[in-house]
């Protein structure tokens, strides 16, 4: 969260709603450790990352749904084989994310 703090504060000053997605657990090989954080503003602007770029697109969709419904959710991404457009990690690991509105 440290790296994206200034984005979070700017968005809040501008009155934008924000969802936070944090890596909470990791199985096997994965690029980012628990605590890696990505933030998504209600207009789709993004700061930070939770993987090496493999799942960020899907996380934006989940985060916007979280802002829409104002609930929170656990989301996991596992191994993706070579099927076109399948969302997942190519490195063979599984990451578990917690996505929530920044309303606390």
């Amino acid at each position: 969260m440290r790296e994206i703090l200034s984005d979070l504060e700017r968005w809040r000053r501008q009155g934008r709603r924000v969802a936070l997605a944090r890596v909470i657990d990791l199985e096997g090989s994965g690029p980012r450790l628990p605590g890696a954080t990505m933030a998504v503003a209600d207009d789709g602007e993004v700061a930070g990352s939770v993987s090496g770029g493999c799942v960020e697109g899907a996380v934006v969709v989940e985060a916007l749904e979280v802002l829409e419904s104002n609930d929170r959710r656990l989301v996991s991404f596992g191994y993706s084989d070579d099927e076109a457009f399948a969302v997942g990690l190519t490195c063979g690991g599984t990451i578990h994310l917690f996505i929530e509105p920044l309303d606390w």
Partner: protein, 269 residues
């Protein structure tokens, strides 16, 4: 259109998190990620807590565990009963540790210093530049440094040495025995994880003699990375900075610093 801008919403925990991050203080943030009250938060510091996970007993147990995780610099999920009971998994709590950034003390305000400050900041170090020569140790020359101290390195170490640990680094770039030797002797008296000393092979040999004269034993000499850095053929100050921080990372992880393409086995531990 959203009629209630979020700037009007109170976010007391986030505001506290933001100011603790700015102050570079240590804290942990516990969040219920599954179970009753998902999303509830407890901010934990050695000085006390803020917020609640919805149950006073759960708060107490998580506070204790979070302080342990913070001391170890770990983040992860733990399971509890509804009132904090062990060996139950009614509530899953993610404890995220925000340890203080590691420190890097750079002795010697030279050209190599400016590059090393830049690279160390990228890696998240809190960086102090120290040199006894007032004309060189200026804020203007090292705008990214967290502190620029005009003093003898060994005197700075007398003040802050007790706080240095395994994650911290001391880089001696002065190449002047008058400053280097007392700085190295003082650094060896601390628990700092990395002590790197710049200099040519010849400077290094000469310095070894001086260090022996100053009473440094074999164990002390073996702790020094001198000349500092890994051999990537670095020539410029920027390349040298990369070579130095690569050595610091490899020392911490116990890896060999060879090319991944020349080895096999897992990339991440």
């Amino acid at each position: 259109m959203d009629a209630t801008p979020e700037s009007g919403t109170a976010t007391p925990i986030f505001d506290a998190v933001a100011s603790l991050l700015r102050e570079q203080s240590a804290f942990a943030l516990a969040t219920v990620v599954e179970g009753p009250g998902a999303g509830a938060k407890l901010l934990v510091r050695p000085e006390g807590t803020m917020g609640t996970l919805g149950d006073a007993n759960l708060d107490r147990v998580v506070e204790r565990d979070a302080l342990g995780e913070l001391a170890a610099g770990r983040s992860g999920v733990r399971n509890y009963g509804e009132h904090g009971e062990a060996r139950e998994d009614h509530v899953r709590v993610f404890i995220e540790s925000f340890a203080q950034p590691p420190r890097m003390l750079i002795f010697g305000a030279v050209d190599f210093t400016a590059s090393l400050v830049r690279v160390a900041k990228v890696l998240g170090y809190r960086v102090t530049v120290c040199d006894a020569r007032e004309v060189f140790a200026t804020r203007q020359r090292f705008p990214l440094a967290d502190e620029v101290v005009v003093d003898w390195p060994n005197r700075l170490l007398d003040q802050v040495g007790a706080d240095l640990g395994q994650r911290d680094a001391v880089c001696v770039l002065t190449h002047d025995n008058k400053f280097d030797v007392p700085a190295i002797v003082s650094a060896l008296a601390t628990g700092v994880g990395y002590i790197g000393v710049m200099g040519s092979r010849r400077t290094h040999e000469n310095r070894l003699v001086r260090l022996r004269e100053a009473g440094v034993d074999d164990a002390g000499i073996a702790r020094l990375r001198s000349p500092l850095g890994i051999d990537i053929g670095a020539r410029t100050p920027e390349e040298t900075a990369i070579s130095i921080v690569a050595e610091i990372i490899a020392l911490r992880t116990g890896r060999s610093a060879q090319a991944l393409s020349a080895s096999s086995g897992p990339i991440h531990d």
